[in-house]
């Protein structure tokens, strides 16, 4: 499995970007019992057969890695859920999109740490292309929600500019400080 929850989230959300999704909703929630990650998109979706293969680590979608025979993103997420006392859901429909959700029990010793949430979310916002990404973040001290379009409006929309990315990171860092601290 990936070393942090955020690494797995970045990997799964990148699938949505590569699936041509115009809208992606990311939820990262942590409470006393579990950590839950979900990514929902309206990308190209998968047939039942593609969905079955996507969970096989020795398969990768045609064209994604020409000449390769492995695809580890979804298998890593499933492995994380199964090894950490959590749940795993993969739903998809061609032309409509995909929903991935996995969780980990808070008291499971194998559950990976959350990782760098601000850097992960900024990285996802910064991918080339015009799409909406809505982030729903919940933790022990509260919650916040923000959309890429809202950040673009506030920051001017140049997601390849280091200054813009630094300001977006400041936004996420300050909100993370607020919700990950029990006051």
């Amino acid at each position: 499995m990936h070393p942090t929850v955020c690494d797995t989230l970045a990997d799964i959300a990148q699938n949505s970007i590569e699936a041509g999704a115009a809208e992606i909703e990311i939820r990262l929630a942590r409470n006393a019992r579990e950590t839950i990650v979900s990514v929902k998109d309206n990308g190209c979706g998968m047939t039942a057969e593609q969905k079955r293969k996507a969970e096989d680590p020795f398969y990768t979608a045609p064209g994604k890695h020409p000449g390769r025979k492995v695809g580890l993103g979804l298998p890593f997420a499933r492995m994380t859920a199964e090894q950490c006392g959590g749940r795993w859901t993969l739903e998809s429909e061609p032309g409509k999109g995909t929903f991935v959700e996995f969780s980990m029990a808070a008291d499971n010793v194998d559950a990976p740490p959350l990782g760098d949430v601000p850097a992960t979310l900024v990285g996802l916002m910064a991918w080339d292309g015009d799409r909406e990404i809505r982030v729903v973040r919940e933790d022990v001290g509260g919650s916040y929600e923000v959309a890429r379009s809202e950040l673009s409006e506030a920051l001017g929309g140049d997601w390849s500019d280091a200054g813009t990315l630094a300001m977006a990171k400041e936004f996420f860092s300050s909100n993370e400080d607020e919700i990950t601290t029990t006051r």
Partner: protein
């Protein structure tokens, strides 16, 4: 750190508007492309990307575009970073951790000197082309 709202963020940007207005996207001559496939993420590419954002921001460099891409075919040497700059060869760097990312900013981008000990060639055509 005090919680920032979107309104705060807008004010923050407006406080830097003079600086931002001097930036012309067409003058962005250097591209930094970070491989963010499963292999890159597993090897720490998010920290690499973050280090580029931080180092370029601190250097006040406004002519660099930071982008991400999927696996570039060098899984054994992740995190990988391609740097495209005028008057310099296009270079694929491998094993780029946060410290190496800062070196690439200081040496390759600011001083136009290659970071020799991290240069990797692009993968062979039979890997990239799937033949």
């Amino acid at each position: 750190m005090a919680k920032l709202t979107l309104a705060d963020l807008k004010k923050l940007r407006e406080s830097k508007v003079a600086e931002i207005n001097q930036r012309n996207p067409e003058n962005k001559t250097v591209q930094v492309i970070v491989g963010m496939g499963t292999c890159g993420i597993a090897a720490g590419a998010k920290a690499t990307f973050d280090a580029f954002v931080d180092a370029l921001g601190k250097a006040g460099v406004d002519y660099v575009t930071i982008r991400q891409t999927g696996c570039m075919g060098l899984c054994h040497s992740e995190p990988t970073v391609e740097v495209v700059a005028p008057d310099m060869p296009t270079v694929m760097y491998g094993k780029v951790d946060a410290d190496t990312a800062r070196r690439i900013v200081n040496e390759h981008i600011l001083q136009k000197k290659l970071v020799d000990d991290h240069i990797f060639d692009k993968p062979a055509a039979d890997i990239v082309g799937g033949r």
